[in-house]
């Protein structure tokens, strides 16, 4: 089993919290993992990505080769498109539809969404609204993790355990909200894939 995932977003959007959730679940499932992160200059509001690789065999490269990612998870609709050269032919783009606008020439949202919809395998969801519905607008990244979960070769219970561990310190309420967010994202993808 092997899943190569590109996480995409903008510096400050916290894509690494998604990576941490998957990472914990992978460790719990005794899988090998490599996760290349972007630190430094780009974190200052620039485009950031993380290469996350999970496998039952040892992993050689920290970087995912071109055209071979199984999945792009993007917390913002334009950023996922930036990494299409990494996506496999049968790979999936799972993206939040809420744009993060910190540049003056950000395109019209409809045009970005049109480009997303042109990708044969895509899941596009309003993770911000779904997070709010689950009880906390801050859980949109966890909604995204849930939406990506059907495409990741890790038992869903392990992801739930990961969430419990990630948020355990913050109390049961926070854990519950995030589990709800995770399940809502997953349900959306199951219905729309």
């Amino acid at each position: 089993m092997k899943t190569d995932i590109i996480l995409a977003g903008v510096g400050g959007q916290g894509i690494l919290s998604i990576a941490a959730g998957i990472g914990l679940a992978a460790v719990k499932s005794n899988l090998h993992i490599k996760q290349a992160e972007v630190h430094g200059m780009s974190q200052r509001g620039g485009d950031v990505q993380s290469h996350l690789r999970i496998s039952d065999k040892p992993i050689a490269s920290d970087l995912i080769p071109n055209g071979s990612a199984h999945l792009i998870i993007s917390v913002e609709p334009m950023e996922g498109l930036r990494y299409l050269p990494f996506l496999r032919k049968d790979g999936w783009l799972v993206t939040n539809t809420v744009p993060f606008v910190n540049i003056t020439d950000y395109p019209e949202t409809e045009e970005v969404i049109k480009a997303v919809e042109a990708i044969p395998n895509h899941i596009a969801l309003n993770a911000d609204a779904m997070a709010k519905e689950a009880g906390s607008s801050r859980s949109s990244n966890i909604v995204m993790l849930g939406a990506a979960s059907p495409f990741i070769d890790i038992p869903f219970e392990k992801l739930e355990d990961g969430i419990r561990e990630l948020f355990g310190r913050k109390g049961n309420d926070v854990v519950d909200v995030n589990l709800k967010a995770l399940r809502a994202g997953r349900e959306f993808s199951m219905k729309n894939r």
Partner: protein
């Protein structure tokens, strides 16, 4: 033992703690910063009372580590590649003094310049100093290497370099720990003159160093980090150094059909290179960064078998390697995925909304109009982003501290007034000495020290200035009538512009200190305060 999920940087930190260090000395710089940060957050390091305070710059860090080594204890120095330029004097001479306690220098290179001014390769420096290098391919090796590096340093009586590149520094994977080595006891060097580099002693030390090279090489030949596997297929032999070995193996998941020499411990083991050369018809050299090994193996003349790599265009001459680049070098087909749609725009890094540097540039841009463009020498930090629109406010960014000295040189040439823009951390790193030069000649320059009370660009580490910029400038001899502390806020804009205009017109050294905490550091501090008041 349980597996920890660590960044390459963190694996180095944990390996050093478990390897018995008594101190880490460092100045922040991507991609090395997380090494010191990990030690600072480590409970184990606190219990062991390991030194873990940031130094003012890389040279002071290197020298303090030499001092700790002199006293018999194990010390580690960490910085980014350009930090090694700053530390170079101490670094090269540390090879001449030798060590007492083990001394490890971690230099983190940044091929492709993700967050740097250049992509220099630290291995040149180690070769220059004639010391061994360890170059890990993964997080476990990073841990294992630093763990053994102190012993290696003590055994060979030289500092040992660990070279890491951005990818490994910032990539996370499983690491298994070893038993914790106790720290060395305080112990003076057996030879009391070992660290006295007077010419007569230095000549003796130098001979000793030269005599150690064959020992270093034989250790590299036997090192388990280096591996030669000869294949029956004699067409091609590959030398793969450090992380390049990963990209090679990524392309051959069932094992590489060619002969491969993996190099992770230097000096380059020449006997292994010769064995590979004799066995194969052609060679290819894969290394991240500059063609260091390739140039050594090929020489200028390259008589003999063809040697491929960055120099003959088989691989790109610059930039970071990746699996696809190496696949192409082997003429393997690479599926390039889908093209990036036209709708995607560039998203460069930018100053945070509300950052004080923004108010500084807005005021400076207005104040300087009457004096003319092209006279603002900036420095390295978040404020370098003032080079981008909408500010377009600065004309240079070269190396840390260069703002003040370049402004002075330009003023010497007649570009009057010249302006320097520098941050508080960069000022204490290497701006103070330049200011002294300017004071000594009363150069007509205006120095703006944009003090946000932190080292912002690298993630908000404590700044050595500790809010004392004003006192430091007075101490250096700037006339108190020409030092101004401002608050860079919209509401003070008119007043700030007025002061800047006035000082730009002054024919001597003025210092303007806009002071307002970085909003990221501010937010983090408030969060920490809230957390500790709840506990």
């Amino acid at each position: 033992m349980e597996k920890l999920l660590l960044l390459g940087d963190e694996a180095l930190a944990q390996g050093a703690i478990d390897g018995g260090i008594s101190g880490v000395y460092a100045y922040p710089g991507t991609p090395s910063t997380e090494i010191m940060e990990f030690v600072q957050h480590s409970k184990q390091a606190a219990e062991l009372n390991i030194h873990r305070v940031w130094s003012a710059n890389e040279k002071t860090a290197m020298e303090a580590a030499i001092g700790m080594s002199y006293a018999g204890k194990r010390a580690m120095v960490c910085f980014k590649h350009v930090g090694l330029n700053v530390a170079a004097d101490a670094f090269i001479n540390a090879a001449m003094t030798g060590v007492n306690g083990g001394l490890v220098v971690v230099s983190a290179d940044d091929p492709s310049m993700h967050s740097s001014q250049n992509e220099q390769d630290s291995r040149f420096y180690a070769k220059f100093a004639m010391i061994p290098i360890l170059e890990p391919t993964n997080q476990q090796e990073a841990y294992d290497m630093v763990y053994m590096a102190f012993e290696l340093s003590e055994r060979l009586n030289v500092p040992v370099m660990i070279r890491i590149t951005t990818r490994l520094a910032h990539s996370r994977s499983g690491v298994v720990r070893k038993a914790v080595t106790p720290q060395n006891k305080l112990k003076l060097p057996t030879d009391p003159r070992q660290f006295v580099l007077l010419p007569a002693i230095a000549r003796v030390n130098y001979k000793k160093l030269l005599n150690t090279i064959p020992v270093m090489e034989s250790l590299a030949e036997k090192s388990t980090f280096n591996r030669l596997s000869l294949s029956n297929n004699k067409k091609l032999g590959i030398i793969a150094a450090g992380i390049a070995h990963n990209y090679l193996m990524e392309n051959f998941p069932d094992g590489c059909p060619h002969s491969v020499l993996k190099i992770s411990q230097y000096p380059v083991p020449s006997s292994l290179v010769n064995k590979l050369y004799d066995h194969c018809e052609t060679l290819m050299v894969l290394e991240d960064g500059m063609p260091v090994i390739e140039e050594m193996v090929k020489g200028i003349i390259n008589i003999g078998k063809p040697i491929h790599g960055r120099l003959d265009g088989t691989l790109p001459r610059d930039g970071e390697l990746n699996p696809a680049i190496i696949a192409k070098a082997f003429n393997m087909e690479v599926y390039e995925g889908m093209p990036i749609p036209n709708v995607v725009r560039k998203r460069p890094p930018s100053l945070c909304t509300g950052c004080g540097h923004i108010d500084v540039y807005t005021a400076l841009n207005e104040a300087i109009i009457d004096f003319g463009a092209g006279r603002v020498f900036a420095d390295i930090g978040c404020y370098t982003l003032g080079a981008l629109p909408p500010f377009n406010a600065i004309n240079s960014c070269v190396d840390m501290g260069a703002s003040i000295t370049m402004a002075k040189g330009a003023a010497d040439a007649g570009l009057v007034p010249s302006v320097a823009v520098i941050g508080d951390s960069t000022f204490t790193h290497s701006g103070m000495t330049g200011l002294l030069d300017a004071v000594n000649e009363n150069s007509p320059i205006t120095v703006i020290i944009s003090d946000n009370s932190t080292t912002g660009m690298t993630g908000g580490q404590t700044s050595s200035a500790h809010g004392r910029i004003l006192e430091i400038c007075k101490g250096i001899g700037v006339h108190p009538d020409h030092i101004f502390v401002l608050t860079p806020l919209k509401k003070n804009h008119e007043e700030n512009v007025r002061i800047m205009k006035q000082e730009l017109a002054y024919q001597g050294v003025s210092v303007i200190i806009p002071q307002r905490e970085c909003i990221q550091t501010f937010a983090r501090r408030k969060k920490d305060e809230k957390k500790s008041s709840e506990e």
